[in-house]
């Protein structure tokens, strides 16, 4: 039962990264791809109706974390106190920028919120990568399963680590590049005209850097977290996940060269799924490994709720999420189609 919820949690996180990922990527890039107020509005309209629903995936992930793995929720949220508070402020800033940018028709008002939107998106993309890096590397848990991390210490991966070290910073950069690529492909897929051309060009230029970072982070991950190598040795079918990621990356560049930017977006989604699945597979059974002493790490078994609660929750969670997916698809369909520069709201 804990394993099922581990998989559902991974699915929710993946759903969040795929959906809000393109919102964040759009935010990272929109100052570069859109020139002038009309194009900025065009870019905003691609995410206007859907980003809210996308952000709810993060909230639901939080809810499921409390439900299924309360010990993990308690430990990680209090341990990452400082970075999480910053994430909160950034989420507030992004949300406000998206909501209120178009409420006032004034050149300066729009420009101010454009920069706020971009800054919040860049920092959030990095923060989420750093968070993933921390989870892979592990944290200095004590016997009660608690810890408190400073923002940084000396940038080395050691039991004395901070939130930022060389490894987590690398994952942060990879996350920024990944979401920028995802956002560029989203815009190339959803827009028309000059913005579409610029987005596709940026996606092509980002691609080599992305490949280099994927290689570097993969190599480092094997060194930082031995569990990954052990899992692959124990269950060789796990190689399927990195293969998916590589296939996604190759598909992105092949489609871009062929001018099929709608397919490129789907390939990029496959790459992200492959990367996250590889990380989840590599960490199993850990949810939050302990640096130094593997035996006190939080696993899906010692952090899970009792089986009865998990079974009951499964009975409403699955139909509930199917319903959510159904009307999310409906909303995306209603809003589907390329968006031009001069369309109304």
């Amino acid at each position: 039962m804990a394993l099922i919820w581990f998989c559902l949690l991974a699915l929710l996180i993946t759903g969040y990264v795929l959906l809000d990922g393109y919102d964040l990527g759009t935010g990272v890039l929109h100052l570069l791809v859109a020139r002038g107020d009309a194009e900025r509005r065009q870019v905003m309209r691609t995410i206007g109706a859907v980003w809210h629903g996308n952000e709810v995936w993060l909230l639901s992930t939080g809810g499921v974390l409390v439900l299924a793995f309360p010990a993990l929720y308690a430990s990680s949220f209090s341990g990452f106190y400082l970075p999480l508070m910053m994430v909160l402020w950034l989420l507030i800033m992004r949300g406000i920028a998206l909501h209120f940018r178009n409420d006032v028709r004034s050149a300066l008002w729009g420009q101010f919120w454009d920069v706020a939107f971009a800054a919040a998106s860049v920092l959030l993309a990095i923060f989420f990568g750093v968070a993933l890096g921390n989870v892979i590397r592990g944290v200095p848990l004590d016997a009660a399963g608690d810890f408190f991390l400073p923002l940084w210490v000396d940038f080395r991966v050691s039991p004395n680590a901070g939130v930022l070290d060389w490894y987590t910073t690398m994952v942060g950069v990879l996350s920024l590049l990944t979401l920028a690529e995802h956002g560029a492909l989203w815009l190339a897929y959803r827009t028309d005209g000059a913005v579409r051309g610029r987005s596709a060009r940026i996606a092509r230029r980002l691609w080599p850097a992305l490949v280099v970072m994927v290689g570097a982070v993969t190599w480092s991950t094997f060194r930082v977290q031995p569990q990954v190598g052990m899992n692959l040795a124990a269950w060789p079918w796990g190689y399927a996940f990195p293969v998916l990621a590589i296939a996604g990356l190759l598909g992105v560049i092949a489609s871009l060269r062929g001018g099929r930017d709608d397919r490129a977006f789907a390939w990029c989604a496959l790459y992200i799924v492959g990367m996250l699945a590889s990380a989840v597979f590599g960490l199993y059974p850990y949810l939050l490994p302990a640096i130094g002493d593997p035996s006190i790490g939080l696993t899906i078994y010692n952090a899970a709720s009792a089986p009865h609660g998990l079974a009951v929750a499964l009975s409403w969670f699955v139909p509930g999420m199917l319903l959510v997916i159904a009307y999310t698809v409906f909303a995306h369909r209603t809003m589907a189609g390329r968006i031009g520069v001069d369309e109304g709201p």
Binding site: M44, R45, G48, A49, V50, H52, G53, E55, V56, L59, S60, G63, V64, V66, L67, P70, A71, Y73, A74, S75, S76, F77, S78, F80, Y81, L84, M85, L88, W89, L91, I92, G95, I96, L98, H99, F100, R101, N102, D103, V104, A144, D146, F148, S305, A306, H308, G309, V312, A313, W316, F317, G320, M321, V324, Y327, T328, A331, T334, M335, P345
Partner: protein, 445 residues
């Protein structure tokens, strides 16, 4: 760690109080916008359609504020209250996750359609979107109140291995005896806020002589909905909620009423100040035997005072609890009087001409926010010193490793951020009011 606990509590109190200024408005308006949408669908008139669109825009600004200030609350269960979430996550995780799956997705997806889909959706689908936004926001309240009701009256759980609580019965959790009246009382409080704002805006337009046809529509709807909700707020919902408190948390009732000594035929206090040193109320004005009657429907019934309970089980801030409760009740009574008077004027046909009444309705707009805040202060202070009533003390709920300086830092950060948010909200809401329900709306954001 004592001071960290103080800052943890203050930060949650501050962020939750600020947050709830917005959901009470959106939940109330969600119902009223749905009513306007239904009128638009039935009459097919442009007037109702514009009115619905105008209030949807106000709704959207408030909704945005509610969402961005709501996320910090869900995070704080983990960041500042890890003792609480580790102990009770196996139970409240159910309702928190249900809120996400059943309510948040519904509300935000269909609000996106409502705001952006006006040209792409048929009138019927637009009406359906308004219904889903209303359903989503009220279901969200139901699940979060189920969580709060469990903290007030824990049911459906069992102690698991390692001391943490585990779910025993989801049915018991969702049919908690505390929940029905708390939910109804809270929701009619939200309708009061929504309808006072709507009536206030209508009065504002009539006083200015702008958008007068809209002003009359808003006044009519706001005053009628406000009168119904204000009466329902006191009887039966407030009365029944009070009896729940008396039954399940008698020490809380004693503190709310400022009843220091157990008495037969206990009076109800209208005005008076709790004196914690002398353990009595200074200069009280009372109605004899009324508390006994309200609580037990019997004039001579015995009501337990604070002296019947050990000092360490008293709510830890009796005066604040007492004042919050009395402000709520006092304002609630004024609301009933003001709304009944307005309905009488409406029925006589003099409401739209009476500048005094219109001014009164404009000036009343802030007070439902104060009353709802005071009501939640009563609920939360009344539960003290417990975070899970009778099971976990608040002092055991906070995060053990988060030092007081860190919490103070984030509290100050929230104070600054929320000040900016408040200014933004007022500015944007005022612009929307100033622009008015004209047919060509500015682009929704």
């Amino acid at each position: 760690m004592d001071s960290a606990l103080t800052w943890d509590r203050l930060q949650f109190a501050f962020t939750a109080t600020f947050h709830y200024l917005f959901p009470q408005l959106t939940m109330g308006l969600a119902l009223l916008v749905f009513v306007l949408m239904t009128m638009a669908l039935r009459s097919g008139s442009a007037h109702h359609r514009h009115a619905a669109a105008f209030w949807t825009r106000i709704f959207a600004i408030s909704f945005a504020m509610g969402v961005v200030t709501g996320i910090p609350l869900e995070f704080q269960f983990g960041t500042n209250w890890s003792g609480f979430s580790r102990y009770s996550g196996g139970v409240i995780g159910q309702t928190l996750a249900m809120e996400g799956v059943f309510a948040f997705f519904l509300e935000s997806t269909f609000l996106g359609l409502l705001l952006y889909g006006a040209k792409k959706l048929s009138p019927r689908l637009l009406w359906f979107s308004a219904l889903m936004v209303f359903a989503g926001s009220w279901m969200s309240a139901f699940f979060i109140l189920a969580t709060n009701a469990w903290m007030q009256l824990p049911v459906g759980q069992t102690a698991g291995a390692g001391g943490a609580l585990q779910l025993e019965s989801l049915g018991a959790l969702l049919t908690n005896a505390w929940l029905p009246w708390q939910f109804l009382h809270n929701m009619s409080g939200a309708v009061i806020t929504g309808s006072f704002v709507m009536a206030g805006v209508g009065a504002f337009y009539l006083l200015l002589g702008k958008h007068e046809e809209h002003g009359r529509t808003y006044l009519r709807l706001g005053v009628i909905a406000g009168a119904i909700a204000a009466c329902f707020q006191i009887f039966p919902s407030g009365d029944e909620q009070g009896r729940d408190v008396a039954h399940y948390q008698p020490v809380t009732l004693a503190a709310m009423e400022g009843l220091f000594e157990t008495r037969e035929g206990a009076p109800i206090v209208i005005v008076g100040q709790p004196d914690m040193e002398a353990r009595r109320l200074d200069n009280p004005i009372e109605i004899p035997r009324m508390l006994s009657f309200l609580t037990f429907r019997h004039w001579a019934a015995q009501v337990q005072g604070l002296d019947a309970f050990p000092r360490e089980d008293w709510p830890d801030n009796v005066p604040l609890l007492y004042y919050a409760y009395h402000i709520m009740v006092g304002l609630g009574t004024i609301f009933v009087a003001a709304m009944l008077l307005s309905v009488w004027h409406l029925w006589r046909g003099t409401l739209f001409r009476s500048r005094g009444m219109l001014w009164l309705l404009v000036l009343l707009v802030p007070f439902p926010f104060i009353a709802n805040t005071a009501g939640w202060l009563t609920a939360e202070l009344g539960r003290q010193p417990w975070v899970v009533y009778g099971l976990q003390r608040t002092a055991q709920g906070s995060s053990p490793h988060v030092a007081s300086g860190n919490v103070l830092f984030s509290l100050i950060g929230f104070a600054g951020t929320y000040t900016v948010l408040a200014i933004l909200f007022l500015y944007l809401a005022y612009r929307e009011l100033d622009h008015g329900p004209a047919p060509a709306p500015p682009e929704a954001g």
